[in-house]
């Protein structure tokens, strides 16, 4: 097991470097030159300065001199600047946001909290509904109710998030007026008490959470159902039934445990997937999360925020893959033996 973990971790680190290199190179295709801009504004302010000299200065300062590879390593934080300091991703320096005029990390802290909060909440809601529903459909396979759920789930996963969101906004916010259309807080709520602020936030998050849960129903229910059907058709289930084990025990103890493996993958994958998917929800509902920050950065050419968030998305995804591998290795001995 130890060897397996080491192997996987090393591979993930390798992939991280490959992907970060790839993304950095794509980012480098953008026509931006921070050093030239800084030098230009300086020379415009003070005509006596020599442009080329200032350009050199800023290039060294920003670490944009040297070859592309050197710059990449500097950005990662494993190659020194001209004065020998290491200041990159690994040192926790993600750059400076041009829009907010603050370090990127500071820009991201608050939205990150919101996004994680929303995502955990949505995951719990989604799992709480889809797992029982999936099991039910698998057990009652072919029944009328199962067919109805199947058709419903096809519709559910055929519709893109934004259409569901628009329809829900129209229905619940515009026609019925139950929820606010967008935003995260009521204006002027800063003076309220903490608990009131919390409930205000929950009131604003209700509709996004409903939409996120609804969007997950289709795909996840089908997945759970398929895993459960697979598990129910195993020989051990037949044996258990033949022994006269109660049906409840067969389903929840024997079959469910066997179905758990793919479902764990699903849960982890889904939880990480909604980080990327939150771009959509946060934009539609105007929530202050990283998806919104990412979208605004793309529209406002805030390049270092884009790069930092892109790396975050990649890291999250790689971390998720590692987690899935490790959990698999842990519960399924075949995998670590084979490798």
């Amino acid at each position: 097991m130890g060897r397996y973990i080491v192997k996987r971790v090393l591979f993930i680190i390798l992939v991280f470097f490959i992907l970060s290199f790839m993304i950095y190179m794509i980012y480098n295709m953008l026509p931006i030159d921070k050093a030239a801009e800084a030098a230009k504004t300086e020379v415009q302010a003070n005509r006596k300065l020599d442009y080329n000299e200032r350009l050199e200065f800023w290039k060294r300062r920003y670490g944009t001199d040297g070859t592309k590879l050197e710059r990449y390593f500097r950005w990662l934080g494993i190659y020194p600047f001209y004065d020998g300091r290491y200041d990159g991703l690994l040192q926790g320096n993600l750059g400076q946001s041009t829009k907010y005029g603050k370090p990127v990390i500071e820009v991201l802290v608050e939205p990150m909290k919101n996004t994680i909060f929303i995502n955990i909440f949505a995951t719990i809601l989604a799992l709480g509904i889809t797992i029982p529903l999936g099991i039910f459909c698998a057990v009652k396979r072919g029944s009328r109710r199962d067919v109805a759920v199947q058709v419903g789930t096809i519709i559910g996963y055929s519709l893109p998030t934004f259409i569901i969101a628009i329809v829900f906004i129209w229905l619940f916010a515009v026609v019925l007026g139950w929820f606010p259309v967008s935003g995260m807080t009521t204006a002027g709520s800063l003076h309220w008490s903490k608990s009131k602020q919390f409930w205000d936030k929950m009131y604003h998050l209700a509709l996004p959470l409903i939409v996120m849960t609804f969007c997950s129903l289709g795909g996840m229910t089908r997945y759970v159902r398929a895993a459960m059907i697979e598990a129910l058709s195993m020989d051990c289930i037949r044996t258990a039934r033949a022994k006269g084990v109660r049906e409840k025990v067969v389903i929840y103890s024997h079959a469910w445990r066997n179905a758990l493996l793919p479902i764990i993958t699903l849960i982890i994958g889904w939880f990480l997937g909604i980080f990327g998917g939150s771009v959509m929800i946060e934009n539609i509902f105007g929530l202050n999360g990283i998806g919104k920050v990412y979208f605004d950065a793309l529209n406002g050419n805030d390049n270092e925020v884009i790069l930092a968030l892109q790396m975050f998305y990649v890291s999250i995804s790689l971390f998720g893959n590692l987690l899935i591998d490790l959990v698999y290795g842990l519960v399924d001995p075949r995998i670590r033996v084979n490798k």
Binding site: I26, Y157, L159, W170
Partner: protein
């Protein structure tokens, strides 16, 4: 001889191989059989027949298939019947709900037309018995103004003249009152709200006083501007100075506002026809250096010198062009012609034209003998007047109404309405759904083809050869699958946007990106299936016969995987359409004005649009949903019927 045979065999290789795969998958091998064997086998149906029969037994799947084929035809044949002008916008037709009565003259007006007048999406008419009629899009959904909400003074039998502007209506009653209703934010009628605004107020004598209702020569409205001409040549003009650049001088200088015979409004300028037959555009619209076109004299270099000794009978103005009818029956057109307003029909050269009217982008002229000619933009069929005879024409924005000498309607041609409404730039949503569907489906299809090709190659090689090839390819697959899809695609799109490439190239790159990011799942599935197939006896047999490895991988094993590929192509097609729509919805896919089902919904993320302009998001959303749901149902059913496991259990 033998060599030649070989080369032809090679040429057909690819196609015959593909054909063989399908045949073997669905119909079994092609061994010669004796009659007895045939009879014995006939009772067993081949997999393809079984699968097809099973597919068509499911009603839902058949319905989905029919719907999908219908949509395919709709979006791929539709564009040939409904052409689209990509850069067309028309603010006057913006945000209109589904409507179909824009050229329908009300019954009561049909036989006793006194006047018909329209500037934007609604048209007003006055009958001989002084009754006011209104048709078209009578409610502005953005401002909430309802034009059919008449003031009290507008009663049947009480209106002598009326005119419609872009967002207001002015009418003169039998009592001589001048009454306005509709929007009033820009001094369309009544007193100014703020005296400092750049507006020209309606004259005091019209607001409080009355005029002689029997001597109104002309009442006309334009974009937030109104002109009223009396029989004695006195002209009143008021409205928004910014939207009508000639307004200040025309309203205030006696040189212009007396002895007027007729006024015509374009989008920004007004021209006056004086009683002496001269035409003036004031200081803002000079005829010097204007290049004009006459139907008798051809191109005219300088309109001013041309007009010097000539007299004008009638004038009309579209949004950007002006037309004069000379007293010799010829016509002159000048202005910024975008839609063929300058192409006066040649047949008019032999006729004496007596009158001309203009819509938003078209002119209609009537000759002395009663022939009607129309030219300009024909997007609603407003120029289809060939062979009609009448004595008078009236125009709406995109309509032409022909009226005979007894004031009866002969025919109304032109635009009857938008079946699915218009978007915020006045573009027809139905047209955009057709063209957008073509784009969305094309992008989905190309992306699926790209991803399937990659997946088949990677999956087959990896599964069959195993070892380091498998190791390498699977690691590459892992790298690609760990890319977060939506953010990464958005970033790529952002980078492409900064590059100096054409829109079509950009769309093509987006197709490739979608394909490159979505092949990993299928590749893994193919690999797993190939791994299972590779251990079977027929592969061992092939190996022992000395068949080459490549051949075994692609010719013996791949056909067994084709059912998986088929199912996944279907499901991925829907998936790619959805991702393209999501990207376009966020503004990182295909850009406006090129429509796709995704970017048509782009404007629909605020409550105003969601609430008031439901047709702008509902119809594209329905189109996209129906397409993806049908594709997914078909894919699902295919999986069920092609999967031997599920059919065994039944």
């Amino acid at each position: 001889m033998e060599k030649k045979n070989n080369s032809t065999a090679k040429k057909n290789g690819v196609f015959s191989t593909l054909g063989n795969w399908f045949r073997r998958t669905f119909r079994g091998g092609s061994k010669e059989m004796s009659d007895d064997e045939k009879f014995a086998i006939e009772k067993i149906e081949s997999p393809s027949v079984m699968a097809t029969k099973a597919f068509f037994r499911r009603k839902l799947a058949v319905v989905a298939l029919v719907v999908l084929i219908g949509m395919f035809l709709f979006v791929f044949i539709g564009p040939y019947f409904v052409p689209m002008d990509l850069n067309y916008t028309d603010p006057l037709q913006a945000n209109m709900p589904p409507i179909n009565n824009m050229k329908t003259v009300p019954e009561g007006l049909k036989n006793q037309i006194k006047d018909i007048n329209g500037f934007a999406d609604f048209t007003v008419g006055v009958s001989k018995d002084n009754t006011f009629y209104l048709w078209g899009n009578v409610k502005n959904n953005l401002t909430g103004v309802d034009y059919s909400d008449y003031p009290d003074a507008i009663q049947p039998g009480k209106v002598v003249a009326a005119a419609a502007g872009s967002d207001h209506i002015i009418a003169v009653t039998t009592d001589g009152e001048v009454i306005g209703w509709g929007s009033n934010g820009n001094a369309q009628y009544g007193y100014l709200k703020n005296p400092n605004d750049p507006y020209t107020e309606e004259p005091e004598e019209l607001i409080n006083g009355t005029i002689d209702p029997d001597h109104v020569r002309q009442l006309i409205c334009g974009y937030q501007v109104t002109a009223l001409v009396m029989d004695d040549g006195r002209m009143y003009m008021w409205g928004n100075n910014n939207s009508m650049l000639s307004l200040v001088e025309f309203a205030n200088k006696e040189k212009y506002n007396t002895e007027v015979k007729k006024v015509a409004f374009s989008n920004y300028y007004a021209i006056l026809l004086k009683e002496d037959g001269t035409v003036t555009g004031g200081q803002t619209l000079t005829f010097n250096k204007q290049t004009a076109y006459s139907n008798k004299d051809g191109q005219i270099q300088n309109l001013r010198t041309y007009m010097k000794d000539r007299k004008v009978l009638d004038i009309a103005a579209t949004n950007n062009c002006y037309c004069f009818v000379m007293d010799d029956g010829s016509m002159v057109v000048f202005g910024a012609s975008e839609y063929g307003e300058k192409d006066i029909p040649e047949a008019t050269a032999n006729e004496k034209i007596v009158g001309v009217k203009a819509g938003t982008r078209h002119f209609v002229a009537v000759s002395e003998t009663g022939n009607v000619y129309a030219w300009g933009h024909n997007d609603g069929g407003q120029c289809n007047v060939d062979g009609d005879k009448c004595s008078l024409v009236y125009t709406g924005s995109k309509q032409s109404y022909m009226v005979d000498s007894e004031d009866k309607l002969v025919e109304s041609v032109g635009f009857s309405g938008y079946p699915l409404g218009t978007d915020s730039r006045g573009r027809d949503i139905l047209t955009r759904i057709i063209h957008g569907g073509k784009m969305t489906m094309t992008i989905g299809a190309v992306a699926v083809v790209v991803s399937t090709i990659i997946a088949v190659i990677v999956g087959c090689l990896s599964g069959y050869f195993g070892g380091w090839v498998d190791m390498l390819l699977m690691r590459i697959t892992e790298i690609f699958s760990s890319l977060p899809f939506l953010p990464f695609a958005m970033m790529l799109s952002y980078v492409i946007r900064t590059m100096p490439i054409g829109e079509n190239t950009r769309i093509f790159i987006i197709m490739i990106i979608l394909g490159l990011l979505s092949w990993t799942g299928l590749a893994r599935m193919i690999r797993a299936q190939v791994l299972a197939e590779r251990e079977k006896e027929f592969v061992i047999a092939a190996k022992s016969m000395g068949v080459k490895e490549n051949r075994i991988a692609f010719k013996h094993i791949l056909p067994n995987v084709i059912s998986i590929i088929l199912v996944n192509i279907t499901l991925d097609f829907a998936g790619c359409m959805l991702t393209e729509s999501s990207l376009s919805y966020l503004g990182f896919g295909v850009q406006q004005p090129q429509p796709t089902w995704g970017n048509m919904l782009n404007g629909a993320n605020n409550s105003i649009v969601i609430q008031n302009f439901w047709w702008q998001w509902l119809f594209p959303a329905i189109a996209l949903s129906v397409a993806t749901i049908s594709i997914n149902i078909i894919g699902d059913t295919l999986r069920d019927v092609l999967d031997p496991k599920s059919s065994q259990e039944k």
